[in-house]
């Protein structure tokens, strides 16, 4: 768990640096400060379970064991990228690792995750679909449609709201009728209200293990609200000046990575062991970055490839 936390933290910091160097183009949405949720669920999931991510999905993709070099190369727009550069930061997908996509339209992946859960139910596969959303997604129509359908059909799905307090630039509380945007609405779908400290990986793991087990056993869906805070802005275009300094400082003092490190030390894990994990994460990210940089840009032929299952984009004879 600690290794995963540190790897995600180190990767995200490097992604930030590469963006500032203009090597990562477009936009990126980092999970700095929110790593414990992806890590806690990632550890609790079975290898054939499904993950559905938002556009802030580097962490959740890595948490399923997706190769870091391929993720980094995708951010850099290289041929070795997870999607050969066709998707970019906001669309990370690795079907092989159960990462069924990162979706950049807020809330849109909730019905799609419900569909994957329906398929698992129909096939009797015992798989569970875990769908991560932001707090902003709780105010979009797809949230309601997906949760209602999942509840009515008893689907094996866990919807995880990462409440980082801001929907893009606006405090979520200013635009939402209830204080807890997900947990307070669970009752509308006959679901239990579940709030968890999203900065505590152990607490997240416990909730993940429980809700996934319920779903796998045929007990239907859950909606989990994990309270957290992003250390940076919404995207790389956002310096996040709208957030009060004391609020930022209060949350930084609850940074999940050092908090978890301290807990492990208090439990008797030797500092040297933790330091070694930190160093290995640095090396892994460094290697992934260098390997990704060595990859050429994608071949131009990809522009017209793979609209259809036959690999082409042909629309006429």
């Amino acid at each position: 768990m600690y290794r995963l936390l540190v790897e995600i933290r180190t990767f995200e910091k490097r992604a930030h640096d590469l963006f500032l160097q203009n090597l990562v183009k477009g936009t990126i949405h980092l999970s700095l400060g929110q790593e414990a949720i992806a890590a806690g669920f990632g550890v609790a999931m079975r290898s054939d379970d499904y993950t559905f991510c938002t556009y802030r999905g580097h962490a959740h993709t890595l948490a399923r064991g997706t190769p870091m070099t391929a993720v980094m190369a995708e951010l850099l727009g290289r041929e070795a990228g997870l999607l050969a550069g066709k998707g970019g930061s906001m669309h990370l997908t690795s079907v092989e690792h159960g990462v069924m996509g990162s979706y950049a339209i807020v809330g849109a992946h909730m019905p799609i995750a419900a569909g994957a859960a329906w398929s698992a139910q129909a096939r009797g596969s015992g798989q569970v679909a875990v769908c991560f959303i932001g707090d902003g997604a709780t105010n979009i129509g797809a949230f309601h449609e997906a949760l209602n359908l999942a509840a009515v059909w008893d689907l094996p799905a866990v919807f995880v709201c990462e409440n980082n307090q801001y929907m893009e630039y606006t405090p979520i509380g200013k635009v939402t009728a209830v204080p807890n945007p997900a947990a307070d609405r669970a009752a509308a779908y006959g679901l239990e209200s579940i709030l968890v400290d999203g900065n505590d990986p152990d607490a997240v793991f416990d909730v993940a293990a429980h809700t996934i087990a319920v779903a796998r056993a045929g007990g239907g869906p859950s909606l989990v609200e994990a309270t957290t805070y992003r250390h940076g802005g919404h995207s790389r275009a956002d310096p996040a000046k709208y957030r009060p300094e004391d609020e930022v400082q209060a949350w930084l003092s609850r940074d999940p990575v050092p908090m978890y490190r301290n807990r492990l030390e208090a439990m008797g894990v030797k500092e040297a062991v933790l330091a070694a994990i930190d160093e290995e994460a640095e090396r892994k990210v460094e290697t992934a970055t260098e390997q990704a940089k060595q990859s050429p840009p994608p071949p131009i032929g990809l522009v017209e490839a793979d609209v259809w299952a036959d690999g082409t984009s042909t629309w006429r004879n």
Binding site: M100, G101, M110, I112, E145, N317
Partner: protein
């Protein structure tokens, strides 16, 4: 295709819809069917009667009025091993789940570099003539045609609706089947036994030498009737049912235009960017020197459809309007 030497049965278009779905559900246990009122009620157009009884509530499921959930769930199921058929009751309602259709389903394969395959079908009742008013009547096949990543068919006969639904279910890509609601009661011969058509193929409905009319769905019988009337003038019109907009059978259409040297399209969709505009553009680009006169599009004007009989009839291309327009243009 697949029609020779087979016995035929006379079915209505709506019976042929159910027959096509049933055929595929029988052959492939991964085919599931969901939508609003499709199971217990048999569909608001009674086009899915009997499927629940035959295949059970696991495979034939009623949904809430949640178009995003219906289409989104179909997508999630298709990427994980099922071949879902999702019904959107009226094609106008596609606007309520257009994100799922245009942003999610259509783009998934491309942006994942081919990791995701989506063998799914969206069936929907399209088109006017039923006095339902503007929000239950529009022909929106051109919306779908404009989105890369969607295959689009619009059958005009019972045999075609069965065969094209079957082809859509078997296709590995997302296909939208625009059934025409005014055609549901129409009857026609449908081959007995397994029947599958081929996506991307047009059908020559009537052969002719003087001009080509390309039509779609409910406009096909009108174009055929217009051709019959023109035959009385000594004008020989070839009528082509485009059937499939994506892929588009340009070979059949352009082959006919090269033979007749005149092209007319009959489109129910509103004028701007209707499917015929693409057909006309291709013909102008690729067989300009074969043409003896301008390409003429006969369409619904660029308006939503009105409800009252006289108004709706005046809006959509009628047999008379088709005949008159062609006569005027032939001079």
């Amino acid at each position: 295709m697949g029609r020779r030497d087979l016995d035929v049965a006379e079915l209505t278009y709506r019976e042929a819809v159910a027959s096509g779905i049933a055929q595929e559900m029988e052959l492939d246990p991964t085919v599931y069917f969901i939508g609003e009122d499709v199971a217990a009620a048999g569909g608001v157009f009674k086009a899915t009667v009997g499927l629940l009884e035959r295949f059970g509530p696991e495979r034939v499921r009623d949904t809430p009025i949640s178009e995003q959930a219906i289409v989104g769930a179909a997508m999630g199921a298709a990427m994980t091993g099922l071949r879902p058929i999702a019904e959107i009751m009226f094609s106008d309602f596609l606007a309520t789940c257009w994100d799922m259709v245009a942003n999610q389903i259509a783009k998934a394969r491309y942006m994942t570099n081919g990791q995701v395959t989506l063998p799914l079908v969206i069936r929907t009742a399209n088109g006017g003539g039923s006095r339902f008013g503007a929000q239950h009547s529009q022909s929106v096949e051109n919306w779908a045609m404009a989105v890369p990543g969607l295959k689009v068919v619009a059958p005009s006969t019972p045999a075609d609706v069965k065969g094209l639904i079957a082809a859509a279910v078997r296709d590995p890509d997302p296909v939208i089947v625009f059934e025409h609601k005014a055609l549901y009661p129409t009857k026609g011969e449908v081959p007995e036994g397994e029947h599958v058509e081929t996506l991307g193929t047009a059908r020559v409905v009537r052969e002719g030498n003087d001009l080509t009319i390309v039509a779609l769905a409910a406009m096909v019988p009108r174009a055929a009737a217009a051709a019959e009337e023109l035959a009385g003038d000594g004008v020989s019109a070839e009528v082509i049912d485009a059937r499939s907009l994506v892929p588009l059978d340009t070979r059949t259409i352009l082959g006919s235009v090269r033979k007749t040297s005149r092209l007319f399209t009959v489109e129910e969709n509103p004028r701007l960017c209707g499917w015929g505009a693409e057909v006309a553009s291709i013909a102008a680009e690729e067989c300009f020197y074969d043409l003896d006169g301008p390409i003429v599009r006969i369409t619904t004007p660029h308006v939503p459809l009105p409800a009252a009989d006289q108004l709706e009839d005046a809006a959509m291309p009628t047999i008379d309007r088709i005949v008159d327009t062609i006569r005027q243009n032939l001079g």
